[in-house]
Amino acid sequence: MMQHRYVGPEEPVEVNLTKQGDAWTHDGHRLELHGERLKITLADGTVHLAHAAKTGDVWWVHLNGHTFRWERMEPGATSSGHDGGLAAPMPGKVLEVLVDVGQSVTAGDALMVLEAMKMEHRIVATSGGVVTAVHFQANDQVAQGAALLSIEESN
């Protein structure tokens, strides 16, 4: 039995993999490696070919018209859930900062306007709280993943 862990929306997702001969099983599904092809027999008996590719810690899987993205968590790691920081979704330029430090915001409030790929994108609060820091000003360039603002969540 082999255990794998992935980042989930809230809790980490745990997978207990069993090897039976040349096949791997999980949750009633069965996988065999045919040459370089991942052949999956679902619990309902239907057979599908999966495509998988890895970049960084992320496995991308295509199966029957659906694409899944699973970020691996190495054993012992804690959930990388967000800590109230709001990250730049892609590289771009800050056009406008719409909030000040100390300001209360509610989920959905626009916080910042970014320009990327020649379009404007709004950064909105994902939860209510108080703005504790604004890390960039108008006209600053930001890298993908850069923390733009910090918000202390209120309950």
Binding site: L17, H51, T55, G56, W60, H66, G92
Partner: protein, 502 residues
């Protein structure tokens, strides 16, 4: 007359034009920015000139460098594709003045149609119906805001703010409430200034429940102006089309004749030569209104090609050479649908995404066409438009075309970069899309709080098996590029894709 064509564009449309030239036996030159060296389109040209510069403004928008590239390679004509310099009258003029053939309409026609406010006035004069609204000429921000607010009150809410130099949804805002007006107007102006260097805005009444229907026109220099029927492109996200079809699912022969005649009249009003598209809003009442004319080839031209059998780019080349166009009278056969594949996160406000195309495996089979500028192993960067490909299907009926599109989207595998494939696939099952009763607000109506994928729990669980087994089997030897996609180490980028399964 023989010509050599320089394609002043990149990506998918550059590939389309370069291939058409090859089929016509015409020599080709590609120009590319340094960060596009090795892109698919550069491999389809006879010669490649690398433009010197590190921004779009100093490469694909640098008129002098592009004209010099034509001169130095012996090109005799310039095809602008769409976007970039395609609707820049000053570039069309500079190309002609350099003794080169401009594959497009005259600079005067581009100017009259390119400035949307002038176009509205020209169309009114030609008897083509325009959307009720007002043009505001003030350029000073404070004066313009004041004049816009007054005009908005006369036009009435809900309304649309549009940039006079606009296109592609940039500089456009819908305003439903006067309280939102100032922020929307400032945002539209700012986007328009950034994208077009012109902050002038006009106002149109927002005609809700309308369809976006456009007519393809072709005109040669022998006095013939024809239309190739309609395309319906109502399904839009953020004012950008994602699903286009021909013929229009609710079109009638009488309406096609009326709209076709209006489109031909619009083209003739500006002495149009070449391929162009006249866009209309079709109201639920059956009335139609001129939106704008795109004085260039359009992204969605393939659906018209598939139902009419006309190669529009090939006709552009004939017309540019001064020959009469080869296509005969309009004949529409079967049904074609196009979807635009974007590198974007449809579940997160359609935000553009970037990353490596670890796997890029398009579907195959009868009735499919793929227009793309990328292939497996390429990197999606934030430098350019995030459109990856156009997938186009043809079938004898609309129902069969939709079935074919569903099958094709299910087969399309893209790994390493988030795409809108699943969104497009779910779109094919939306009741309005199935019935053909789509409007420009369909996406917002169906998903008022944004789209979230319908997750199949069985496949989700099986995907965890695939990821975990692939990891345990050691199929995860890291690519030499890592997640950053950094090629500067000089290693072969295709090492990445040698580790994909299958």
């Amino acid at each position: 007359m023989s010509i050599n064509v320089l394609v002043a564009n990149r990506g998918e449309i550059a590939c389309r034009v370069l291939r058409a030239c090859k089929e016509a036996g015409i020599g080709t030159v590609a120009v590319c920015a340094p960060n596009d060296e090795g892109s698919l389109f550069t491999e389809l040209a006879d010669r490649v000139v690398v433009l010197q510069g590190d921004t779009i403004a100093t490469t694909y928008l640098d008129q002098a460098q592009i004209i010099e590239a034509a001169r130095s390679t012996g090109a005799t004509a310039v095809h602008p594709g769409f976007g970039f310099l395609s609707e820049r009258a000053d570039f069309a003029r500079a190309v002609s003045e350099a003794g080169l053939i401009w594959i497009g309409p005259s600079p005067e026609a581009i100017e009259k149609m390119g400035d949307k406010m002038t176009a509205r006035q020209t169309m009114r004069a030609a008897g083509v119906p325009v959307i009720p609204g007002e043009e505001v000429e003030e350029t000073d921000e404070t004066d313009a805001l004041q004049a816009l607010r007054e005009a908005a009150n006369r036009v009435g809410y809900p309304l649309l703010l549009k940039a006079s130099s606009g296109g592609g949804g940039k500089g456009m805002r819908a305003v439903h409430d006067p309280a939102e007006f100032e922020q929307a107007a400032l945002g539209a102006r700012r986007e328009a200034v950034a994208a077009f260097g012109d902050g002038r805005i006009y106002i149109e009444r927002l005609l809700s429940g309308s369809k976006h229907v456009e007519i393809q026109v072709l005109a040669d220099s022998h006095g013939r102006t024809i239309h190739l029927g309609e395309r319906e492109c109502s399904v839009q996200r953020r004012h950008q089309k994602v699903f286009e079809e021909a013929p229009g699912p609710t079109m009638t022969p009488a309406l096609r004749e009326a709209m076709g005649s209006a489109a031909v009249a619009a083209a003739q009003a500006v002495d149009y030569v070449g391929a162009g598209t006249v866009e209309f809003l079709l109201a639920p009442t059956g009335e139609f209104f001129f939106l704008e004319m795109n004085t260039r080839i359009q992204v969605e031209h393939p659906v018209t090609e598939l139902v009419t059998g006309v190669d529009i780019v090939r006709e552009q080349l004939r017309i540019a050479k001064g020959e009469p166009m080869a296509c005969g009278d309009l004949m529409i056969r079967g049904h074609a649908i196009e979807v635009r594949l974007y590198a974007e996160d449809a579940a997160n406000g359609f935000l553009p995404s970037i990353g490596p195309l670890l796997v890029f495996r398009p579907p195959e089979g009868p009735g499919l066409r793929l227009d793309t500028g990328v292939r497996e192993g390429d990197e999606v960067t934030p430098n350019y438009d995030p459109m990856l490909a156009k997938l186009i299907v043809w079938a004898p009926s609309r129902e069969e075309a939709l079935q074919k599109m569903r099958r094709a989207l299910d087969e399309f595998v893209v790994l390493g970069t988030t795409t809108n494939i699943r969104f497009l696939r779910e779109l094919c099952d939306v009741a309005e899309v199935v019935s053909g009763n789509t409007t420009t607000t369909t996406i917002d109506d169906v998903w008022p709080h944004g789209w979230t994928p319908q997750v199949d729990e069985t496949l989700l669980s099986a995907s965890l098996l695939a990821a975990s087994a692939a990891e345990s089997l050691g199929l995860n030897r890291q690519s030499t590029r890592g997640a950053s996609g950094d090629l500067s180490d000089g290693l072969n980028p295709f090492q990445t894709i040698s580790r994909r399964f299958p």
